[in-house]
């Protein structure tokens, strides 16, 4: 409480940016070292969050609140609950890994690259801890800029600009509509209470008429659905993922996509609960379509990175399905699956990047029999693949199982169709693994590939540690999220009754 951990987490990367700006661009190692040091320090500072977090309460913790534009009710208000805790830790955890992963990969414009990465970290942590709508929006937008530069400057030369601009504009569409919704909400609050405020927690208690909730939900929902990305607004994702540099893809998959799902959980559902119930069928069906569609499209990909990208669409579909079940198991599964997806898909992108560094191709057809030349690589790749499929004992299983459990309780049909996604996942991942790793080495160029270096093993090991940890003993993580989830589910249950009444109003309105 006294020690402003969250603010330090947000500001430290910016201090790092300032530091790196002053360094000489010739000293690549110094720049990389400085970035690494800052990222590691940030990770270490974030650890007390985990140990100091009280998992028994759903209240916001580590809260800091300072007035920002007092006359207009804007404040710098940050805090953490069970939902955001894991995501913040995921962010601080994945950033140093990314810096280490690009240690040799990035040779060009290293200084700017590191500045972008650290800048991005500030934005990401800011999004997860903001409890003020204005502050949230600022971070939400800020983080676009470095990601856009990462894709556009260091991406794959052929189509990077297209991908970067598409990413930027897609996200902007959603966020600008969200901005309007935020404004409308704020003035509605002003009309009701007579106070200007952007305080998220105050909005939770606001009674909003159903018709307004309807539009608000759609406006916020579009912004988040684009970020998730849900079918049919997912089309920026394969491009952005494929063209981004390895590290860009990792952060995109591990953290940025989570902002969408997190947004639903933190903003959409609690603020507009009645509309949230009303939209369950629509969003669940879209989620299910996403699961099956993502999986089917993954099956036919010839490019490793594109395959992983489409598998993200499928995995995030699971998360959305879990969240929209509004059951304890579904929501907890959704939260844990966000982390799982961050770890396993992040690791998959790292692995694809490692292969790409060696062969400068990502086409599945160019590989085959790699397990013979790269045994260590094969083991790690296998673990990550199985985790992505959802093998019991690894993290993916826990998340998908809980989600399906929750979804089954809420609606059997969705759950049954969604379950087929797990089977498809096994199909496309294993088939991909088989084509890349097993069989004879058919391509001459693959004959002499070097196995993983120590650095690369160090990059992957921490991720794999958590993949196994969550798989074997998920309670460590689930108990931190429990109180917040319970609170959320109770809140949703409470508004279920009023939703029926609200829907009646609409029905009568149509008759009239």
């Amino acid at each position: 409480m006294n020690f402003p951990i969250l603010s330090i987490l947000i500001l430290l990367p910016m201090v790092g940016v300032a530091l790196i700006m002053m360094l000489n661009r010739e000293n690549q190692w110094v720049i990389k070292g400085a970035a690494m040091a800052v990222a590691l320090l940030n990770f270490i500072i974030s650890l007390p969050l985990w140990f100091g977090f009280n998992g028994d309460t759903a209240a916001m913790q580590f809260v800091e609140k300072y007035s920002w534009v007092p006359s207009y009710g804007v404040s710098y208000y940050v805090g953490l609950d069970g939902i955001s805790l894991l995501l913040v830790l995921l962010t601080t955890f994945i950033t140093p890994i990314c810096i280490l992963a690009c240690w040799e990969d990035i040779q060009d414009k290293v200084k700017e690259f590191m500045i972008c990465l650290l800048f991005l970290e500030t934005g990401m942590i800011g999004v997860f801890v903001s409890l003020d709508l204005f502050l949230f929006y600022v971070f939400w937008e800020i983080m676009l800029i470095p990601m856009y530069l990462l894709i556009g400057v260091w991406g794959n030369p052929a189509r990077r600009i297209y991908a970067a601009v598409k990413f930027f504009i897609f996200t902007m569409v959603g966020s600008l509509l969200m901005l309007v919704a935020i404004l409308v909400l704020c003035f509605y609050n002003y009309k009701v209470t007579g106070v200007y405020t952007f305080d998220l927690l105050k909005m939770y208690g606001l009674q909003i008429p159903f018709e307004m909730q309807f539009w608000m939900f759609l406006a916020f929902g579009l912004a988040f659905a684009i970020k998730v990305p849900m079918f049919p607004v997912h089309t920026w994702l394969p491009d952005a993922h494929t063209e981004a540099p390895t590290v860009g893809s990792v952060i995109l998959a591990a953290v940025l996509l989570k902002m969408g799902t997190y947004g639903f959980l933190r903003f959409n559902m609690p603020m507009f609960p009645e509309a949230a119930w009303y939209f369950v069928p629509l969003f669940s069906i879209l989620a299910v379509i996403g699961i099956v569609y993502g999986a089917l499209v993954s099956l036919v990909q010839v490019d490793l990175k594109r395959l992983v990208a489409f598998s993200s669409v499928s995995h995030l579909g699971f998360v959305m399905l879990g969240l929209f079940s509004y059951t304890m198991a579904g929501v907890q599964g959704g939260i844990i699956q966000m982390i799982n997806h961050g770890l396993s898909t992040g690791a998959l992108f790292l692995i694809v990047g490692m292969v790409y560094e060696r062969r400068h191709t990502r086409m599945i057809a160019d590989f085959g029999g790699l397990s013979k030349v790269m045994p260590v690589f094969a083991v790690l790749f296998m673990i990550v693949t199985l985790s992505s499929i959802g093998l019991p004992g690894l993290n993916g299983f826990v998340g998908e199982f809980l989600i399906l459990l929750g979804a089954f309780k809420a609606n059997k049909v969705y759950a049954i169709i969604a379950a087929s996604g797990v089977i498809f996942a096994a199909a496309y991942m294993l088939w991909m693994f088989q084509r890349v790793m097993f069989g004879q080495v058919t391509n001459e160029k693959n004959q002499n590939l070097k196995d993983l270096s120590t650095r690369e093993i160090v990059v992957l090991l921490p991720v794999i540690l958590f993949i196994i940890w969550i798989g074997v003993y998920p309670n460590t993580f689930l108990e931190k999220t429990k109180a917040s989830t319970e609170n959320f589910v109770a809140m949703m249950e409470k508004s279920k009754a009023t939703k029926v009444a609200a829907a009646d109003v609409i029905f009568k309105g149509e008759q009239r």
Partner: protein
């Protein structure tokens, strides 16, 4: 019969006097100096005058009265705009120095005319009487006509001057006609009395016509659609430093007068003109942004973008509430810094004789001149309205005001327009950072004064974006006088 001599206090127009005297001094200096001998002093004198003006404005801050028989308002609203004009003129002067040297046109009258134009702007912001405001419009416009045609050997510059003169003349005529109609309808030139009469006896045909003609007249000056046609040609043809100056100065001054007249005189008839302005705002934003998409000349692109920005600002006028007025003041300050900064970079990159004005000339700039590209990026993202820049906060206030007033559709159209603008502003950063240099463009000469100006503007754009509270409070105390 006794003639009452009104008491006047010269300090109430202190900044105006300072700039006028400095302008005259410059003219004398130019006239009596052997050609080329005193060149260096012109901009220093202008800058000193501007700094004195700023100090005078700060000392005046907080007064709330009228002077010169109610011809001039002495209030924070005027002072806020004085600051915008003085900062804008100051930056323009600094940007001009090297540009003019390149063209061997470093004349004293250039700076004198700029200062006179600034005086006109201030008069427009402070005018308490239609005649004063019209006087301000003319004092502003005539120097700008000349400045736009400063490069008389250049065909484009001539075209710009002629177009601006003709259309500016038209707009002045419309304005004057509108003033005449209002006088005919109410029998007074004073804004305060106009407001009283209209409140008491309502609108009549003459005042309606006057209102319409005023909108046309100001519409020309701030380049609202469909009166925006002159903007791209004039902006492209005029010397870049003058384009920068007029894009922010003229716009801010016209909006100052526009805002004061409309919220002070016509608040009771708001419903009658806001539908009209609604359509104009939507047309202005959309035409500006869509046309900017297709531009490859950066000056033309910025010209169309400035049309679009006029549209955003108009949204704040339509909202017609206190927050809207605050938003306009904030936005104009932010816009002044961002746009002047952007033009500063344009001047630097264009180099001798404006050779590099195509947007593709910026390719590779990001890594050849990282500092220059970084400030340009700040200005571009500011113009887009991305946080944490001042541009975002400005748009935020303006759009909030419109939401508060219930114009949600207008806001939706506004944000969709910013979305369109993302593409062309972003394209500059794409070209700077993501395209390799097409040809070796040779060195960009950086002078320390221009560097410092650009860096300070960029920092200011960021700082007032991150800490909007100070400017918000200043703007709030400026619009307190309005009955809204």
């Amino acid at each position: 019969m006794s003639i009452e001599i009104p008491t006047i206090c010269l300090t109430s127009i202190g900044p105006l006097i300072t700039l006028s005297v400095a302008g005259l001094l410059l003219l004398l200096l130019e006239a009596f100096s052997i050609h080329g001998a005193k060149k260096g002093y012109f901009h220093q004198i202008s800058l000193v005058a501007i700094i004195i003006g700023i100090i005078q404005t700060i000392l005046l801050w907080g007064r709330n009265t009228t002077d010169f028989s109610r011809m001039i308002y002495v209030d924070n609203f005027s002072f806020f705009f004085y600051m915008i004009f003085l900062i804008g003129t100051g930056i323009s002067v600094i940007l001009s120095v090297k540009y003019l040297e390149d063209y061997k046109k470093n004349y004293g009258e250039y700076y004198a005319l700029m200062l006179f134009a600034a005086v006109g702007m201030m008069l427009m912001a402070a005018g308490g009487n239609m005649v004063t405001i019209f006087l301000g419009v003319e004092i502003l416009s005539i120097p700008i006509y000349i400045l736009a045609g400063m490069f008389r050997e250049d065909v484009k510059s001539n075209e710009a001057a002629l177009k601006y003169l003709l259309l500016g003349g038209f707009s002045s005529a419309f304005l004057l006609f509108g003033i005449a109609m209002l006088y005919g309808g109410t029998g007074t030139f004073y804004l305060a009395d106009l407001a009283k009469v209209i409140k008491a006896s309502g609108m009549n045909n003459l005042t309606y016509m006057g209102l319409g003609l005023l909108i046309v007249g100001f519409g020309f000056k701030v380049s609202l659609a469909p009166f925006h046609m002159w903007t791209p040609d004039v902006y492209e043809g005029a010397p870049t430093s003058i384009t920068a100056f007029m894009s922010v100065g003229t716009k801010a001054a016209a909006f100052a007068a526009f805002l004061r007249i409309f919220v002070e005189v016509f608040p009771s008839v708001k419903v009658d003109w806001d539908m009209l302005l609604w359509v104009v705002a939507v047309a202005t934003m959309t035409i500006g942004n869509l046309t900017a998409l297709a531009q490859t000349n950066i000056k033309r692109m910025l010209a169309y973008s400035s049309i679009a920005h006029a549209g955003y600002i108009l949204v704040g006028m339509i909202a017609g509430n206190k927050l809207g007025a605050i938003g306009i003041l904030y936005y104009l300050l932010a816009y002044t810094l961002m746009n002047l900064g952007a033009f500063g970079v344009v001047i630097l990159v264009a180099r001798k004789k404006d050779n590099y004005l195509n947007i593709y000339d910026y390719s590779g700039l990001g890594f050849q001149y990282p500092g220059l590209a970084a400030v340009m990026t700040v200005f571009m993202f500011g113009l887009v309205g991305m946080p944490p820049t001042a541009g975002f906060i400005g748009k935020f206030f303006i759009f909030s005001a419109a939401v508060e007033a219930g114009y949600i559709w207008l806001v939706l159209i506004g944000v969709l327009n910013s979305l369109i603008s993302v593409y062309y502003y972003l394209r500059i950063t794409v070209i700077m950072y993501m395209k390799p240099a097409e040809a070796d463009l040779g060195p960009v000469e950086l002078t320390s004064s221009v560097n410092a100006t650009l860096i300070l503007s960029a920092l200011a754009v960021l700082l007032i974006g991150i800490f909007p509270g100070i400017i918000y409070n200043l703007a709030m105390s400026s619009v307190k006088i309005f009955p809204i």
